[in-house]
Amino acid sequence: MSAHIPTTIICAGGGGVGKTTTSAALALALARKGKTVLVVTVDPARRLAHAMGVEIDERVQPAHVEPEVEGKLFALMPEPRRSTPTFAEILFEGRPDDLARVMKNPVYLTMADAAASMHEIVSLVLIARAVEKQKFDYLVIDTAPSRNALDFVSYPGRLAVLFEGRAVGWLGGLARRVNEEGESVKDPGMFAGAQARIEALFARILNPRLLRELAQLFADLALVKDRFAELARTSETLLLGSRSRYVLVAAPSGSAQADAIFLHKKLTKLEQRPVGVILNRSDESPPPWLEVLRKSAGGWPALGAAIAQVDLELKTRRRAGDRLSDGLKKAIGQVPQLRTPTIEAADPAVIVRGLATALTPSLEQLAGR
């Protein structure tokens, strides 16, 4: 099945910079222009999901933060805690017996459950499947809040190497060489070849039962190698193809600046040039209303104090925004900057709408024509 490849916008940045909100806002801004958009959140926030009218699960659902754009905006917010069954269900679609066996394999359950990157792999597989089934103009992906977030770009390839290379066969064979009584491989002695030595080390680390379960898992996964390869190829085209666009997200807090510079370096290694860096909560100028109020607060101490407090916060924020902007100009000056203001609201839907409006003038730069 060949899929229509949409323009894919991948948002990357450190934690707490508003990546999830920015992704939703970009998607909304595109939907307002009449585009059909799918926004995918790898690290879903329940409240944001509810604000967009979607559930956190494995389905692509119509989303809305404004009544008039309903139907053009879709969201996929997979539940991290269901990654393990979801991954197996997709790979073993139409093979109930094999699926049941894998879901009983303790190695699969523990490894998959404990692996932090499992959820990202599952999200990619879900994206690839969604794109096969439905035509989207744009895909907006919100990556995990980490410096390693871009590692997921290479997961499909890494897993493919594991499946297609000699490793799986060798690992399966190793289990056969462990005898039925459960004795481990004999120490081959000083002069044995490197392979035999590695086998002995393996047996020393793992116990025989586990080795057999591991081999069974690889044998089962080998059954669906082709299906996996197909999904991996689609993800790779989405993430590293000619229609992929990377957007860095930063904010004046903690290590966000260092994270953005680090991610830029990683992207350069992947031969990707970010189309822009969004500086959230980086107001540029004092709001005119503050000046107006300052003149009228005389004689009202409580109001004066409130204005002073808000003014102080805005000023400090502006200074922090300027510092961030200067720092990024110095380090990654070639990447165009987009400063967005702080949006004072408690409701996530209001913040998404406000940010979408703030990003609209730069939409062509971020999303292309």
Binding site: T20, A45, R47, L48, F202, A251, A305, E344, A346
Partner: protein
């Protein structure tokens, strides 16, 4: 007056704070100020006990910056690759064998594709570092990726999956010395924002239920300071006058309301963790909004003043 000193009246907990340690795991979403709180706790302990350790994941830049140059805190950074080598060398009793093993064509892709092993190795590395300072407080700034819970559940899962053998022993060692409720305290850091807070409540409950580690402290960072109630009356009076002033006052009212909502929502959501509702989270700390980057010494002083260090 420093920003840190103000706003302390807003704390929800009048109870004495339970003592921490000997190992403190600081967890929370990225960007909530986890590293500042972790560094502050280590700094306070170093002042009290003469030494303490801060263990960080990643590149260690932010810990170094927050601690400052003159800190007595011993700073260690866990690098995934080094951790894997350390752990395997410990298992096999030889660094050379570990290098040979990790360099193997089948082992390498398997470990890269099965990161549970890498995480276990990183925890083992934390254990080895912590052993360097017996009797001193060790604060771990946990990684922001994944669910904070995954890291704490992993050693038990691995111990039970590997019924015997060296990995079982390794996992069991980590369970006993690192994540056992008698050994470690969990500190959860969060922000006064709806999205972040509701996730935090879920995390606190799960920590209690699933790994028997209810947070010893819950710190809400960047809590906005309180404004006088009269400010609202006066702003409304200006709005009633109309004209450009009235329009400007509307904008101010919006900002003031947003700050107040953040305060109120935080307190409401935190009430879900009331001990009367069966929650074991007794220490809730509201760290005042301080817009500039704080150093470890500021945070340490604030925690000491609250008896929470």
């Amino acid at each position: 007056m420093s920003q840190v000193a103000s706003g302390s009246q807003a704390d929800t907990s009048g109870e004495a704070h339970t003592p921490l340690g000997p190992l403190v795991l600081v967890t929370g979403k990225g960007g909530v100020g986890k590293t500042s709180i972790a560094a502050g706790l280590a700094e306070a302990a170093a002042r009290r006990d003469g030494a303490a350790m801060l263990i960080e994941f990643g590149d260690g830049e932010s810990g170094k910056r927050i601690l400052g140059r003159n800190s007595k805190v011993i700073h260690r950074v866990v690098d995934p690759r080094v951790a894997m080598e350390m752990a395997i060398a410990n298992l096999l009793g030889s660094t050379i064998l570990a290098k040979l093993f990790l360099g193997n064509f089948a082992v390498r892709p398997m470990l890269r594709a099965a990161p549970a092993m890498r995480e276990l190795a990183m925890l083992e590395c934390v254990r080895l570092y912590a052993d360097e300072v017996p009797g001193k407080l060790v604060v771990v700034d946990m990684p922001a990726t994944g669910h904070g819970l995954t890291w704490l559940r992993l050693p038990v899962q691995m111990r039970d999956m590997f019924a015997s053998g060296p990995i079982h022993d390794l996992a069991a060692r980590i369970v006993d010395r690192l994540v056992a409720p008698s050994r470690c305290s969990v500190v959860v850091v969060t922000l006064p924002e709806r999205l972040v807070l509701s996730e935090t409540v879920e995390l606190c409950r799960a920590l209690d239920r699933e790994v028997k580690l209810p947070p010893a402290r819950l710190v809400v960072n960047r809590f906005p300071s309180e404004l006088a109630p009269e400010a609202w009356d006066q702003t409304r009076a200006l709005i009633a006058r109309g004209g450009p002033e009235g329009e400007a006052a509307k904008e101010l009212l919006r900002v003031m309301d947003a700050r107040r909502t953040a305060r109120e929502e935080t307190l409401t959501i935190l009430r879900e963790l009331d001990p009367k509702k069966g929650s074991h989270v007794t220490s809730k700390l509201l760290f005042p909004e301080s817009l500039e980057d704080l150093g470890a010494i500021d945070v340490a002083s604030w925690l000491e003043a609250r008896g929470a260090a």
